[in-house]
């Protein structure tokens, strides 16, 4: 049968039912009793395995995302401690708190942690938790793949920190430039640990990207056509596409580097025709989009927070979406501005300067749209909005220095100075961490059912805001005075002592802000005010269900009637009926218009994804020492993947599956059959 025929056949099956909205009339108490029975069945069907077994088999997207968020937050704190150690070392000239070698390891591990173990995973994790809830799905599109992704990520983090604790932490900077990181100048295993940590975290982000796009494209509630997709989900989808096209570059870069070091290939060895600049191209072809991979999800946090606390619809939805996508496209044309100090043709430099300045346009469009949304509205200034307003101040400053750095002559002057350190922290902390903390305050009630304290939240914000500016604003000045990055100390005659001391004091104020957040969260879990389903009176679907959400997310998949589903829902809004309550099913809809297409079997808990992750871990960790690991690892991965393939996709429902496709049809319960109008 041709594709067209298949499509036609399905349309015939779908059309009369899905487009025809019928009314059912029932006694209220009869309905309530039937609903209660269904709820109990759903609870049983979607029950999570608990204890140790649950750790390795549970595929619930909320639980996996919470693990990602907690793990990434632990890495954030570790990276912060490393930053504090560096600030203690730099607080005064000729300090001997850290040795040069310790300093090298610490700045490398700090950068690698913040980029690969904190920022990217936590942004993906926010999507894994919230995208299914915002689009009205019962789970993500590929729950088992999702579980696999978490364990691969965890392996990467543990590998880096095991090496660091054993004094084998990488020490060639977070981008590990050759020739410094090559076999000639970095003997030992330090750089290999970095390269394999990259492999693990990139596998996990790629997996996360596929899970998020699959969910956003195919699992949306009926009525949520693409032009009604929440801006948060748009941001996650755009980021996921960037991951798909950017991450392969760094995987190749780190694989080439590892093979140069392990099996004597010559990709980066100029003596045999290799090329050190090639490494920089490969790294930054990933590395610059990476900045947007961290930043665009944060834009996705800002829009819903502004909409909720300004209590009005977003100004310029279409302009916002176009800005997100054009940022992603232009983001791939900027990588060479990290390499202005290398011999690049001038024509090329001009192109990349132009692109670097051009990217300010879509960012500007979004900021004006947000200001237009806030303008003249009755602001409800709660902690999440406070963090967003902090974002405006800090990010715009970082954007300004970004435009400055895009200019080649200026860049050559301040290349590798603290000016660049100041710039990148203004855009990354201002652009991502502030919105992220706002998002923590905003969605914490949904995750836990309890509110974080407002007054502690304000204290948290002001400590972070003041602390941040104290640390990083003086660094602009230090950079202009010529203080280089990645140098463990400086002489008193340079006169950099005072500004460095201010920055170091600021670091502890900033850390105090994070500490307030941790205490606030610990307190709120025990004694926070009970939140209820929708404490902020917000508009998107995740607020239409209980806090924390039930395992199956939605009892009845809702039908969406506008861009702001809760605000625009009419009293008689229809719901979707006909999904099984006794097996894990979710509704699959068409990509553009979200027309119902399938009752998709969602796989349930399984041990195999964790075991495949173990096989991957063995392959790449042993692969640091011997190439034979790849042969053994391929066999291990093969065996575990075969078991994954043959394992029952939904072991709660073996009997239903064995009876064949047609007889699996589950009718709505007889008493809920809709009556014709």
């Amino acid at each position: 049968m041709s594709h067209k025929e298949a499509q036609k056949r399905t349309e015939e099956r779908v059309a009369p039912r899905s487009r025809q909205v019928t009314r059912m009339e029932l006694e209220e108490n009869e309905l309530a009793a039937a609903m209660e029975r269904e709820r109990e069945e759903l609870e049983r069907t979607w029950a999570r395995p608990s204890g140790l077994r649950g750790w390795f088999t549970d595929t619930d997207h909320k639980r996996i995302a919470m693990r990602y968020i907690k793990t990434a937050f632990v890495f954030f704190v570790l990276g912060g401690i490393e930053a504090a150690l560096m600030r203690i070392q730099l607080a005064r000239p000729e300090n001997h708190f850290l040795s040069p070698d310790q300093y090298n390891q610490i700045f490398t591990v700090h950068g690698s942690t913040m980029m690969f173990l904190f920022a990217v995973p936590i942004m993906t994790a926010m999507g894994i938790y919230l995208v299914p809830l915002m689009v009205g799905a019962r789970d993500v599109a590929f729950p088992r793949l999702n579980l696999f992704g978490y364990f691969v990520y965890l392996t990467g983090g543990l590998l880096l920190y095991t090496g660091f604790i054993l004094n084998t932490g990488p020490d060639a900077g977070w981008f590990a430039y050759v020739p410094l990181s090559g076999p000639a100048f970095s003997p030992g295993k330090r750089v290999d640990i970095w390269a394999q940590m990259i492999t693990f975290t990139e596998i996990s982000s790629l997996v996360g990207a596929i899970v998020i796009i699959g969910t956003a494209f195919k699992m949306r509630a009926p009525g949520m056509s693409l032009n009604r997709l929440p801006l948060f989900v748009w941001a996650q989808v755009v980021t996921a596409f960037m991951i798909i096209f950017a991450m392969p570059a760094v995987m190749l870069a780190s694989s080439f580097l590892a093979s140069d070091r392990l099996i004597d290939t010559h990709f980066f060895n100029p003596a045999e025709g290799g090329d050190a600049i090639l490494y920089q191209h490969l790294f930054w072809f990933f590395g610059h989009p990476e900045v947007y991979i961290i930043f665009i999800p944060a834009l996705g946090f800002i829009s819903p927070i502004i909409v909720t606390f300004a209590r009005r619809k977003i100004f310029g939805y279409v302009a916002m979406v176009l800005s997100l996508t054009s940022t992603a496209f232009i983001g791939f044309g900027l990588w060479v501005h990290h390499m202005f100090a290398t011999p690049i043709p001038q024509m090329g430099e001009s192109f990349f300067t132009a692109a670097s300045m051009m990217i300010a346009i879509p960012s500007g469009v979004q900021i004006f749209c947000w200001i237009a949304t806030l303008w003249g509205s009755k602001l409800n200034i709660k902690t999440p909005l406070l963090f967003v307003l902090g974002f405006f101040a800090i990010f715009i400053l970082g954007g300004m220095t970004g435009v400055m750095l895009a200019s080649v002559p200026l860049d050559l002057q301040i290349h590798d100075t603290f000016f660049v350190v100041a710039h990148l922290h203004y855009v990354l902390i201002g652009g991502s961490v502030f919105p992220l903390f706002g998002a923590f305050y905003y969605w914490f009630p949904k995750w836990t059912g309890r509110m974080l304290s407002e007054s502690a939240g304000r204290l948290n914000f002001w400590l972070m805001f003041i602390g941040f500016n104290l640390v990083f604003f003086p660094m602009h000045q230090l950079g202009l005075h010529g203080m280089p990055r990645r140098v463990y100390t400086y002489l008193p005659e340079t006169g950099w002592g005072t500004l460095n001391l201010i920055a170091s004091i600021g670091a502890f104020v900033l850390a105090g802000g994070v500490l307030v957040f941790i205490i606030n969260a610990a307190w709120a879990l025990r004694a926070g005010a009970v939140a209820g389903a929708n404490p902020w009176a917000a508009d998107s679907l995740e607020w239409s269900i209980a806090s924390p959400p039930p395992n199956y997310n939605f009892h009845n998949i809702p039908v969406v009637q506008g861009r702001y589903p809760i605000w625009e829902a009419t009293a008689d809004a229809p719901v979707v009926r006909g999904l099984s309550t006794t097996k894990r099913e979710t509704l699959v809809t068409s990509v553009m218009d979200a027309q119902p297409e399938l009752r998709f079997d969602i796989p349930g808990p399984s041990i195999w994804p964790s075991l495949v992750a173990v096989a991957v871990a063995v392959t790449f960790i042993v692969g640091i020492f011997t190439p034979w690991a790849f042969l053994v690892g391929a066999i291990l991965a093969g065996i575990t993947l075969i078991c994954w393939f043959f394992a029952d996709p939904n072991y709660e429902n073996k009997t239903a599956r064995e009876t064949g496709e047609r007889s699996q049809r589950v009718s709505p319960r007889p008493e809920l059959q809709p009556k014709e109008v």
Binding site: R23, F142, M219, P222, D264, E272, G273, V575, V576, E597
Partner: protein, 208 residues
């Protein structure tokens, strides 16, 4: 009395081909990742070529210098096998859509045989490159290209074998018919990528 409108989806199927099924999308995104990987790998090949006056680098012999072009034999055989394998794969693909189990089974057997033969020939193909991976940057990048493609050949053949075992020993259900169609997409992709790599590895050095 309460009234509530519903959309009844209880008649919808569980699986359907192509764009309907999330698995089809997931597979295509994986292929998008791998396509960008091969794209960057090809860019690397041409980037490294700039460092050489002659590509592949000449080898000094006793009497004259030799231009060690990669030998065409094994690579061409792999190309023919993969292209030939598309025929049973297309038939299997169509049969899966129609629900014709026997044709799917026979088609998969032939395709798997082609895949296995291609893997073995690829093993020999490395010897057609004059240099080893650790001789020079040319050897490194060509071995890497052949190796990455071999990895895909192995995964593809394994997937086809697993599906073959499934439809011989278990049900020929919609879920696995969709899987067959998805593996067919993977097969076409592996063939298409190989045609590109074959042209680049074997013929761009011959052009001059």
């Amino acid at each position: 009395m309460s009234t509530r409108a519903v959309i009844d989806i209880s008649e919808l199927p569980h699986h359907e081909f192509d764009t309907y099924d999330p698995v089809w999308w997931g597979n295509n995104f994986l292929l998008a990742i791998e396509t960008s990987m091969f794209g960057i790998l090809i860019a690397t090949y041409f980037y490294l070529r700039q460092n050489f006056t002659e590509w592949p680098p000449p080898v000094a012999q006793l009497t004259a210098t030799l231009k060690p072009l990669p030998q065409l034999g094994y690579g061409t055989a792999v190309t023919i096998l993969l292209l030939f394998g598309c025929i049973p794969m297309v038939l299997t693909d169509i049969a899966a859509r129609r629900g014709n189990r026997a044709v799917s089974q026979i088609g998969l057997i032939i395709a798997v045989a082609c895949g296995l033969a291609a893997v073995v020939l690829r093993g020999f193909e490395f010897s057609a490159v004059y240099f080893r991976w650790d001789s020079n940057a040319y050897g490194s990048v060509v071995w890497f290209m052949l190796g990455m493609h071999m990895l895909h050949l192995l995964v593809l053949t394994t997937e086809a074998i697993l599906l073959m075992i499934w439809i011989f020993t278990r049900e020929y259900d919609m879920k696995h018919r969709v899987d067959i169609v998805t593996v067919a997409v993977y097969w076409y992709w592996v063939t298409a990528i190989w045609l590109l790599l074959y042209a680049i590895i074997y013929f761009t050095p011959r052009l001059g």
